[in-house]
């Protein structure tokens, strides 16, 4: 039996999410990964932005920090730089990571500090009542696109790859085992990792798009999920609005801190002090 209870901060329960929300499945996967890796709760900092996903940090019995909308990665950067040996895990929503926090997202990928980012992509601004987000599919009705979303959406994986993240994967809440696997792998990876988990917001996205209950919404996600191995043989047209899942990038590049130590501190003579 895995001892994942030590990672739960029972005093703050019950959790605030709507019944059927996918965040619970992601929460379970993350504490399970902690337990499998036997990380000491004291050696972990969980940092989150603002939104439904941002509320996650409160419920981990580790060092935790709930920050501002879009900025979680910047706080995490300071924590990691000041404590290179500790584990820093960040939760962001799709709006948090890719709209207001988009600049921090790409620069964190570029910088390659050993931080673990989990983007919970529910394709909507959940917390504020269902406004359009940078990942809302074109055509979907939201409270700020009452006639349907006309904008194209961001592909988190492509963005992370191009910006230089060294581990990039995508999974959905329908695939808890595969999700656990990529989360665990990202935790073991040395460098900046981005794991996108596609999740269901039947309340604030589904409700306005004929997917008002958890099951139809999860089914919709499932119908649009394509494993990477299969996607390789599909055309761009066929892959439009599909969630291609799997591991996209697993590469090595020296991380910011090792370069700082080797090139900067040594040159300045700080290593002799």
């Amino acid at each position: 039996m895995l001892d994942y209870e030590k990672y739960l901060r029972y005093r703050t329960f019950p959790v605030p999410w709507c019944p059927g929300c996918g965040i619970g499945t992601i929460f379970k996967a993350v504490v399970t990964a902690f337990a499998k890796l036997e990380w000491d709760p004291n050696d972990i900092a969980v940092v989150s932005g603002i939104g439904c996903s941002g509320r996650l940090s409160t419920y981990f019995n580790t060092n935790t920090l709930h920050t501002t909308h879009g900025r979680a990665l910047t706080f995490a950067t300071g924590i990691k730089l000041s404590n290179p040996d500790k584990h820093v895990v960040v939760f962001s929503g799709d709006g948090d990571a890719l709209a207001i926090g988009g600049n921090h997202f790409i620069h964190a990928c570029r910088r390659n500090l050993n931080i673990k980012l989990i983007v919970i992509n529910n394709n909507i601004y959940g917390m504020t009542g269902g406004q359009v987000s940078p990942t809302t599919p074109t055509g979907f009705v939201t409270t700020t696109t009452p006639y349907g979303n006309t904008e194209p959406h961001f592909d988190t994986v492509e963005l992370a790859k191009a910006a230089g993240a060294t581990y990039v994967a995508r999974e959905t809440v329908n695939r808890p085992r595969q999700m656990l696997k990529v989360i665990e792998k990202s935790f073991k990876h040395s460098g900046f990792s981005v794991v996108e988990i596609v999740s269901n917001c039947h309340i604030n996205l589904g409700r306005r798009n004929k997917l008002k209950h958890p099951l139809p919404m999860l089914k919709w996600i499932d119908e649009n999920t394509i494993p990477l191995s299969k996607a390789k043989d599909m055309s761009e047209e066929e892959l439009k609005f599909k969630y291609v899942v799997g591991e996209f990038v697993h590469r090595h590049r020296p991380d910011y801190l090792s370069l700082y130590e080797d090139l900067v501190v040594k040159k300045a003579g700080g290593d002799k002090k």
Binding site: R9, R11, T12, P41, N42, D43, A45, V47, I50, S57, T58, F60, N61, T62, N63, T64, L65, H66, T67, T68, R71, L73, T74, F75, A76, T77, G78, I79, K80, L81, S82, N83, K86, N103, H104, H107, Y260, V264, V265, K267, A268, G269, G270, D271, K273
Partner: protein
């Protein structure tokens, strides 16, 4: 006098920070503050500290808050446009009670304004820039040695009261190069944050009224939670009105009840003065030169009240120094601290000399104004 060096104000901030034990800096370049980031990038690696240039000012203050929670003594530096960008996360440091120093080398505003010209227009932004009610400590040194010592002081106050401290320079103070005798370590005190003797409670905000939190840093063996939402004694989110009131009041009172400890000011020639000038930063220096010229020429005897702590405002100290005398407020803006002076000195006659053209108010302009007041 063997330790005399030529230094700009910005360089003295760097030296003061290093002397204070600062070991983490995150910033984003902006005139007229960039020399601070440049200096820190050069000096921090020498003492095994961390320097990072972030992608913007929001990121810079986010990173220093994270590093402070991680146990570092931290600083960030900027000017007007960047100071505006930092306001939201400044609020995090205030509500979560995280020590840090944020330098604003003031330039002409609003907006991109006058990047290379000095101004004192961010005084009220320093007080009320981030939303909601909050306490603020802001310090504004004028003379070279004062810049060095006030920088150390800023760290001391931040660590002691578990709060961000704003160090307000103006461009003229930041960029003037002057000879300065750097004080040695026996001439200043270094204060570090206190930790609980035993890690036995998670109620890190459970403190007497007016006291800062007493808590471990991250990774000290205790799973603390730090929140940007209003929180209870554990730091966990709450909307309970009674708890909200206690936390809000405690944060305000921790500064209010220690005003005497936080307020620094200087008086020059006030005892025999018939009129007292109120001025800070570069304008205090202009005023002092005007005062000394008049005294040399046998003109009217004028004094100077120079606040170094701008916030909390030195109410009692000003009242005591000025008595019933007339006051002339000299500031490089269209009137900000003059309203505070008027609020505090209800019965004195208060004049003001204000300017915001990108040029300093020169000593001869101050002398002119004094003559005008005398002849009126």
């Amino acid at each position: 006098m063997n330790n005399v060096k030529i230094r700009s104000g910005n360089e003295l901030v760097v030296e003061g920070a290093i002397a204070a034990g600062c070991n983490f800096f995150a910033g984003y370049p902006i005139t007229p503050s960039s020399e601070i980031a440049e200096g820190m990038s050069r000096e921090l690696p020498k003492v095994h500290g961390i320097f990072i240039q972030m992608e913007d000012e929001l990121a810079s203050i986010g990173a220093v808050i994270g590093a402070s929670l991680g146990g570092k003594k931290v600083m960030t530096a900027t000017s007007g446009p960047g100071f505006s960008l930092k306001q939201e996360n400044l609020g995090v440091a205030l509500i979560a009670e995280v020590p840090l120093v944020i330098v604003n080398v003031m330039r002409g505003g609003p907006s991109t304004g006058l990047p290379t010209r000095g101004a004192q227009g961010d005084v009220m932004q320093a007080r009320w820039g981030t939303h909601g009610d909050h306490p603020v400590i802001a310090l504004a040194p004028a003379f070279p040695k004062e810049v060095f010592l006030t920088t150390i002081d800023a760290f001391n106050l931040a660590e002691k009261f578990m709060t961000p401290v704003i160090l307000l320079l103006d461009e003229l103070v930041g960029h003037s190069h002057e000879p300065v005798e750097l004080p040695g370590p026996d001439e200043y005190e270094i204060v570090n944050r206190k930790y609980p003797e035993k890690l036995e409670t998670l109620e890190i905000y459970k403190r007497e009224m007016g006291k800062p939190p007493l808590r471990p840093d991250f990774f000290m063996g205790y799973p603390i939670h730090i929140e940007s939402l209003e929180h209870n004694d554990y730091g966990y989110p709450t909307t309970n009105p009674e708890i909200v009131e206690v936390q809000q009041r405690r944060r305000l009172e921790k500064i209010e009840r220690h005003k005497d400890e936080i307020i620094r000011y200087k008086t020059h020639y006030t005892d025999d003065a018939e009129l007292v000038i109120f001025a800070f930063g570069s304008m205090a220096r202009s005023a002092l030169e005007a005062i000394e010229t008049l005294r040399k020429e046998g003109g009217p005897k004028i004094g100077l009240f120079q606040p170094i702590t701008i916030w909390p405002f030195p109410e009692e100290q000003l009242k005591k120094a000025v008595g019933e005398k007339d006051v002339l407020v000299v500031e490089l803006n269209w009137g900000q601290l003059v309203y505070e002076v008027e609020r505090v000195l209800k019965t004195n006659k208060i004049h003001s000399l204000l300017k915001m053209t990108g040029m300093p108010i020169r000593p001869d302009e101050i002398i002119e104004k004094i003559k005008e007041i005398k002849n009126a």
